[in-house]
Every structure is written in structure tokens, then in C-alpha cells.
Symmetry: C2
Subunit: 187 residues, 2 copies
């Protein structure tokens, strides 16, 4: 056995969610997290830029998934269709860790500064999706609009899915939400 337990980063992320859920975000110090994970506070900040970022470790992977799905979508589809499928596949990724996703969502919902970070990540996702659509040859303004529609559907669908345990799976909720969005837009 080595001098340190492996996967300090993963332990920090798990422990942070635990503590934020137990006592609340503000009532937890970074030192509390580091201690329970068996590392120093300094080590926490080597892995995560700030106290909030530990809850957003998965967002880069989610973004890659969306970008790749847009790149690999069959040719000849409209911008919204491509975006819709890309975000539906992102929904599938979340579905795989649905228990984690729901716990994490509850923690975020309880704290405004975490909501701010979440919204920032969604905005980054919109930018990345826009760029990926542009790379497919879709003109900039159209790409930005389609990406915005996709992220809006994604985020409204996620809210629905989190609120209702027994609802449909996230991917299909995203698809139906986007369909509803298109319906409302045309009215």
C-alpha cells in the first residue's frame, strides 16, 4: 500500500456532496471536506478551484458528449434536430447516475451561489454546442439559437425529471420538452 490512499479527487467529490447534503453548503468548510477525505485543505485547492467547483467535476464530460454527438450526427439534419439528439444523449449519461444526479440537484437547489455556478456551466455548454454546430457548417446566428433551444429544453426537462421520481426517463423528457418548446414557439 502506498503512502496515500489513491483517488483523492474522487474521495473529495464524494465527501463534499455528503457534507453539503448533511449540514448544508454554507455550514461546511473546505477544511471539513479535506479532513473527512483524509487530505489537507491545500490538496483540496490543488484539485478544485474553489469551494463550489467540486460539485461540477462531471460537466466537462457532459460537454464533450454533447459536442461529439453534434459532430457525429448524420448529415442533412436541421440545427434543432441535431441539437435535440445531442442533448438527449447527454440525458442518458445523467440517467446512468440518477441517484447521484438527484442528490446533487437537491444540494444545488438549496444554495443560490451553487445555482449561479450551475447556470454558468449551462452557458458554457451553450457556447460549446454553438461552436460544434458552426463546425458542421451551420451559420453562426442559427447555431446560437438552436443551441439555446437545446439547452433550454435540457434544463427544463431536468427540472421536471428531478421533481418527479416516477416520470419518464430523462432523454425522452428532453425530447418531449423540446417538442413542446417548438409547439409554443409557433403559436
Amino acid at each position: 500500500m502506498g503512502r496515500w490512499e489513491p483517488d483523492a479527487r474522487g474521495r473529495l467529490a464524494r465527501v463534499a456532496l455528503e457534507l453539503y447534503a448533511e449540514r448544508g453548503f454554507e455550514q461546511t468548510t473546505v477544511e471539513d471536506i479535506a479532513e473527512r477525505a483524509g487530505v489537507t485543505e491545500r490538496t483540496y485547492f490543488r484539485h478544485f478551484a474553489d469551494k463550489r467547483e467540486v460539485l461540477f467535476d462531471g460537466s466537462a464530460a457532459l460537454q464533450s458528449l454533447v459536442v461529439d454527438a453534434i459532430r457525429d450526427a448524420p448529415a442533412g439534419r436541421s440545427a434543432v434536430e441535431v441539437a435535440a439528439e445531442a442533448f438527449a444523449s447527454a440525458g442518458a449519461l445523467i440517467e446512468e447516475r440518477h441517484e447521484f444526479a438527484r442528490r446533487r440537484a437537491a444540494v444545488i437547489a438549496a444554495n443560490p451561489s451553487l445555482q449561479e455556478r450551475e447556470l454558468y456551466k449551462l452557458a458554457s455548454l451553450t457556447s460549446a454546442a454553438t461552436a460544434a454546430l458552426v463546425a458542421r457548417g451551420i451559420p453562426q446566428p442559427t447555431a446560437a439559437l438552436a443551441a439555446s433551444l437545446g439547452v433550454t429544453a435540457f434544463s427544463l426537462a431536468f427540472e421536471t425529471w428531478v421533481a418527479d421520481e416516477s416520470s419518464a426517463d430523462l432523454s425522452s423528457t428532453i425530447r418531449t420538452t423540446l417538442a413542446a418548446l417548438r409547439e409554443v414557439a409557433t403559436t
Copy 2:
């Protein structure tokens, strides 16, 4: 003359924008702002919850304007049409202080934590608009979708308007952006 100059809050807001523009948000301390405004740091925090909030003093007024416009819209219009007009009138309010709005936007664009707060305010605006649409008798899910479309158009239009000095006025940019959004959605 009283012991204090009047309108400490307004002075703090003006001075903060000045300093954030001059030296950058991170290079400015709350003490710097308080000092230049002729109050103490403690007084700053009585008026504004944190270092960022001073740039968002107008958002409550903007939100009221949108909510009132939704309430007062003529009957018989669709949810998106009502939302569109409400956000266009919000655009007119910003247009009145366009120089301030552009300076403020530049400061926010230069700092991620300010962007986070901006996104949070936009999300609050979405919630408020949704509630106002529901109060008109529009069913919840439709209201949420229409409000999201409105805020998306508002925010994309604002980006365009800020980027291009010589562009059309903000209200009409919002209208054309929403029209483009509806067009893209139906494709």
C-alpha cells in the same frame, strides 16, 4: 447640510462601476469603493449583500417592468406574443441608459463571477415572467416555455446590441431575435 452626503447607495454604485472598469473587478477591494464614495466598508455591506451585487441594482426594476407588461398586455394574445412584447419594453428601459448599460456589460464580460451573477438574475427574470404568465391564466408548462423563449431572445439580442454600436435599437433587436428563434424552432 447633514452629517452625511445623501444617496450613499447611488454613489457606491457609480463608484463601483468606475473602479471595476478602471482597474478590473478583482483588483478592486470593497474598501476602495467605500473610500472613494466617502463611506466605510461596513456601510457598503449594509446596502449590497456582496461585492458583485452593486452592479445589479437595476435588475429589480427591470423585472417589475417585465412583470407589469405581461399583466397589462391585451387579452387574447398567445404566451410568446405577450412575452415578446414584455421583453421588448424591457429593452426600451435599457436603451434609455445605453451608455451605462454598455460600460456595465464590458465589466461583466471581463469576469466570470460577474457573469454567474448575471445569469442568476436572468434566471430570476424567467421565473418572474413565468409566474406573471400563469397569473394571466396560461398553463404552467406553456408559461415556463414562453418565458424561457423570451429571456433567451432578450439575452441573445442584448449580446448583439452590445457588440455592435451601430446596430438597431434594442427593442427591435429583441423582436427580430425572437422571430429568428421561432423560425429556427420550426425548421
